[in-house]
Symmetry: C2
């Protein structure tokens, strides 16, 4: 009985001491990030000195070299490049589009979707059939679609609080629109930009032809939300209006590229890996500051902030700057393949790929036991207004590392402005707020610190048995 | 025993029914605001068609007339203007400032602080003494200050999570700097802008001479953060550098102005008032979109959203657009005075004056009983990512309505970007995000709905006894 009581008292004492230590560490981490963060300066370079960095481009290569060099300055235990072959697609000369109705010519803002074929040199001209989604194609049938340009015009649903949910409800038009419309004999596809705002900017993004034979492929472009509305309005008075567009994009052979990786090797459990990462590639229209320059520099700063805060990790902490998230996921696939071959035990992987806005929390993909442990940490984040700890998805790049016992997570910043910039020409440095970016880096660092200290339940229990 | 059991069952049933109804109402309110809100269109007019509207200016009068007219369109039970005399201060011709050191002239960006006197026509020139705060004046004494320009250069503390706390820790320099420095014989005052960002924009704001005799008053201006750093650096190599500034501001006689008020009269408790408001006046450098155009249009939309959502209030709901928050608080003082004379029982007053950014929750000034009731509503807001329900301050305009039994509250939007724009030339419409603004209006409406439905504890208990 006495022993039991002593054990309880000891447990309480340890819990209180741990909580006090954790509170103090989080305070140091946030303070360091806000007063001595590097993320913003790195982002300035990546956005303004390098710029848009689509996989296979010269800029992507510059970003690889720059981030490797910067990681090398941090005094990590290892920094290396992991080779990966990536697709190379180029937009070419700026696209052109207009429609003609009642003798009036209206120019509209479009951009080729990533992976699309070009139009013929003299463009494509045709009647337009407007639909609200892929399912409308079957209803309309070949007789209404053949020879026409299909205009997918389902807007993002404005009354969803998470704009990512609104995106998820629309993006099938962009990704599969051309593949599906081609089956009904369409000659081209125009998709309303995935943007909750009314403006003149077309938003690019990946699309796929699936297994469609090369000769059946049709060009596909995004149109700005303002112009989508104008086109829709014009179609209401003249169904027979002619739409013209020309785009000059081209797919090349795959080229050599790299994931950039840095590591602090764990002092106690070096083969338990905690990964933090974002993707180094971006679309080509803006400078990719939010998507995903922010995630890249925040992830880099996690390792630096751990060191600056005097934290010596027990487990190995890796930053991985993935290549080719946008149009292939080749970097993530390669990283997971190599990790599996080497039997590297990734107990926790955290991705930041939702913009550099004020962090609100995390979405966790894990089992209930781990999630219960994670929820016990939530109160530590309250002083930093981090409140969102929910089960859900994690991120495209960490996804392939999923196991039954580990934890994947995605940073969840405020999402309201994200799709104003996503894949568009205004995804640029000046739309990232320094403090918001730094708060994100600190929030990530704090969570990495806790996973490093406490491990995950299954693992910890095994260790305790062994220790 | 049976009766007791029945009562318990009945109470549970009522609680469940209420919770379901409340969930449904909040869903309608948020959805209506995001798909059919008016706040953004109103803000567009106030910001872009009217612009900066300092108390006593022609623009302030235009804003009074415009908002009154718009409220009249909403089919409220009453709309009226409440007369109030307000101070009138004008900036005049743009300010000019530079410093000279080692034969080099560096122009700097300044603006007169609101309420400051002008410099003489040919400006003021003098040596500069840099201090970090008011308390340094006494240490330095008259011998080090007399005849000089005092440069208050304490930056906002970057590691505070709430930027309002950082502001609170600095603003004494701006408000009292001239009054205090004059006592030691200073000839002018330059204050580092209350801005957490490094940029070239000076931020104005109110200052006071207190009881200082007119002949002792000295001109006071804000300097941009970039130029504050340049000046500080230059002073380190040359303490004797000469600083010159010229400003042309002027204080006029008080002029007639108005609070704009609209009301839905309560169906059951018409003399229990629920107030929602923001301030109609703004500083003159920008168009006052965040401060406080956002609060004005959100407050207007609260009454409209209640109507659009089919809610018929039991209590009287008032929107009050206060005049002269920035440099006098005359509107708020007058409103509270009249409310007291008329014995109007304001059970709840909610202010939005912290920018049109993503809402995070509310700060409540009330007693523990009311706060307990408020916390019981918190879960209703979770789907909308509204998580901040804390005791604290409310707002300058609703402050005078405080009683021992009522509830005052301030909307708390994300604060990270607020002081990038506050009182500066970039407080403009394009920096307000439509969805963020609409989410704020919905959050306010939801809380007003709950206070209307449930009342406050003291009041509710009295009513229950009477009913």
């Amino acid at each position: 009985m006495k022993t039991k009581l002593l054990t309880i008292i000891l447990c309480c004492f340890v819990a209180i001491t741990n909580a006090q230590e954790d509170e103090a560490v989080l305070k140091t981490v946030f303070s360091t990030s806000l007063t001595n963060g590097k993320s913003y300066a790195w982002l300035d370079h990546i956005s303004n000195k390098i710029g848009g960095r689509l996989s296979g481009s010269e800029n992507a290569e510059l970003a690889v070299q720059y981030t490797k060099k910067e990681l090398e300055k941090l005094g990590l235990d290892k920094v290396w490049l992991q080779p990966v072959m990536v697709p190379k697609w180029e937009r070419g000369e700026k696209e052109k589009a207009y429609f003609e109705t009642s003798g009036f010519v209206k120019e509209v803002n479009i951009c080729a979707l990533g992976g699309s074929i070009a139009t013929p040199d003299d463009g494509i001209s045709g009647k337009v059939i407007e639909v609200k989604g892929l399912e409308a194609l079957e209803t309309l049938g070949k007789e209404n679609i053949e020879g026409k340009i299909v205009f997918f015009n389902r807007p993002m649903q404005a009354d969803l609080i998470s704009t990512f949910n609104a995106y998820g409800g629309c993006v099938d038009q962009r990704y599969s629109g051309a593949m599906e419309a081609a089956k009904y004999g369409a000659v081209g596809v125009i998709v309303r930009s995935m943007n909750l705002r009314q403006d003149d900017l077309p938003h690019t993004g990946s699309m796929s032809y699936g297994d469609l034979p090369v000769e059946q492929r049709i060009p596909s472009a995004a149109i700005s939300t303002n112009d989508a509305d104008k086109l829709s309005k014009a179609l209401k008075s003249n169904q027979a209006l002619q739409f013209y567009f020309k785009q000059n994009c081209q797919q090349f052979e795959d080229v050599q590229s790299y994931n950039v990786i840095g590591e602090i090797t764990g002092s106690k459990f070096p083969n338990e890996y905690i990964l933090v990462g974002g993707h180094l590639d971006s679309w080509d229209l803006g400078d990719g500051a939010h998507d995903d320059g922010a995630g890249v520099v925040q992830s880099m700063d996690v390792l630096r902030l751990l060191k600056e805060s005097g934290i010596q990790p027990k487990r190995s902490i890796r930053v991985v700057l993935f290549m080719n998230e946008e149009n292939g996921l080749r970097g993530a696939t390669e990283y997971a393949k190599v990790a599996k071959e080497k039997n590297e035990n990734h107990i926790f992987a955290l991705e930041s790929d939702a913009g550099g806005f004020t962090p609100r929390g995390f979405s966790f993909a894990t089992n209930d036991t781990n999630f219960k442990q994670i929820l016990s940490w939530k109160m530590l984040f309250k002083p930093y207004l981090i409140h969102y700890f929910e089960l859900g998805g994690s991120g495209a790049d960490v996804g392939p590392l999923k196991s039954e016992t580990n934890v994947l997570a995605g940073l969840r910043p405020d999402s309201q402005r994200y799709f104003d910039h996503h894949h568009a020409a205004n995804d640029t440095f000046e739309h990232v707020n320094k403090r918001e970016l730094e708060l994100g880096a600190a929030t990530m660092t704090a969570l990495v610190y806790l996973f490093d200290k406490y491990g995950i339940n299954q693992i910890q229990n095994n260790k305790e048995l062994k220790d």
